[in-house]
Amino acid sequence: MRVLVVDDSRAMQQIIRRSILKMGRNDLDIRLASSAKEAMEITQTWMPEVALLDWHMPERNGLELMSDLAMLMADIEFGFITTETKKERLEAAIEAGASFVINKPFKTAALHEELEPIFEKTKDLEQRKEQQIEDELSNSQGLVVPSKDSLERAFNLLSVHEVRVGDGESEHFSEDWLPCLVGLFSYGHSRIISSVIVLDIGGAFILGSGVSEQGLLNIAQAKSEKVLSEPVANQCEKAMQMVSMLIGEADSENPLELKQLSVVNSNINKLESIMNQRKTQRVDYELWSQALGTGRMVLLMNS
């Protein structure tokens, strides 16, 4: 569970952090920011699932920061930990999408009471994404395995640095694939998933880094820390949309479309079970870029 704590007091950040750790979960990844600016910088390379915000901070207040973060991340949950007590402001926070507001100083039990349902909801959402892949992968009539050359041409249209595509080794999906990006493809308005693409972190950064040199430096750091940011995921989405044109038959009335692209942080073995349960064709590619090294991309289609 990735939790971002934003408070202009470092002492308060530590108190909140300790309180969360006392929940005893083994999946907590807590990061601390002292301002809205610092919070936005952190989210360039790391996507929190829950953000706990102070209200009164210099420059941008917690409500403004919540709005900024919500624009970047659709599924993020918010809570306020604040000295603010004005009823209309607290109501404004809830109306704007905050799950709770608790006042400082707070009791650890009160924070746990607010966070537990949010953590469970977030965990359920993650599991539903994975279940969706397992439940819906079927029916891949008319699909074409794209050649390395055609993929290379497509990727280089989007990237400022050269991307090469080669044959990849078929490796078991294991924890070292995490986090990864999983793209689900279906025809037109159909809910039936026809194919799946899995990008490991290296592959995601190669396809998601069509940016400046300075951007590449930040991305290299993010890659080493294994964090996938929203801008990288967005750029990957464009690449996946191009792939969908290569996989699907040239049917302008019913094109294959990228239905969903998600960051998967856990339970990679679900993908392995898909491979075992169905007659799935698997094609492995290796991606390479001089600036970002190598990455893996796997295409899964029913044969």
């Binding site: 007091s9 002492a11 308060m12 530590q14 108190i15 300790r18 000295t83 007590t85 004005k86």
Partner: protein, 150 residues
């Protein structure tokens, strides 16, 4: 707000941050004591101000509790951060007790000399001296002097 209410509110916040017991003291603040404390002033969007003074060693003790780190590892910034958060919380609740619509500023560091001047220029609405391990902690709610009372 009377002295008892002010102390109880202050103590409830202090106890959330510190392991050291805070006790009310009967001592009054004199000019000599002003120079032994660190001071923060929190202004409201009305005429009231909240003045908070804390013995520097007590401030380091507070920071040690809030950061959960030994005093010798703490910087001046850590100590000011902890004291500032305590002062901000206390003043936010005091202002809420005075009037719902009051808003408080970020705490501003004050020199002792300016505190002496402030205490002479303004009227004390409520004040309380307390102590944690014999280290002084003073809070006053101030407002402009009533011209008729001068």
């Amino acid at each position: 707000m009377d002295q008892k209410q002010l102390f109880e509110l202050t103590k409830s916040i202090w106890d959330s941050f510190s392991h050291h017991d805070l006790e009310q003291s009967e001592e009054a603040l004199d000019d000599h004591q002003v120079f032994g404390l660190q001071w923060l002033l929190i202004e409201t969007n009305s005429s009231e101000k909240v003045l908070v003074g804390l013995d520097p060693k007590a401030a380091y003790g507070l920071a040690s509790d809030m950061f959960e780190r030994p005093v010798q590892t703490l910087s001046v910034d850590d100590e000011r951060d902890a004291f500032g958060e305590l002062a901000h919380c206390v003043s936010a609740y005091i202002s809420h007790e005075i009037a719902d619509e009051l808003e408080v500023s970020q705490p501003k560091l004050m020199r002792a000399l300016d505190v002496v001047r402030l205490l002479h220029e303004l009227q004390v609405m409520a004040e309380v001296m307390s102590a944690a391990e014999n280290r002084k902690f003073y809070i006053a709610v101030l407002k402009p002097k009533d011209r008729l009372s001068e």
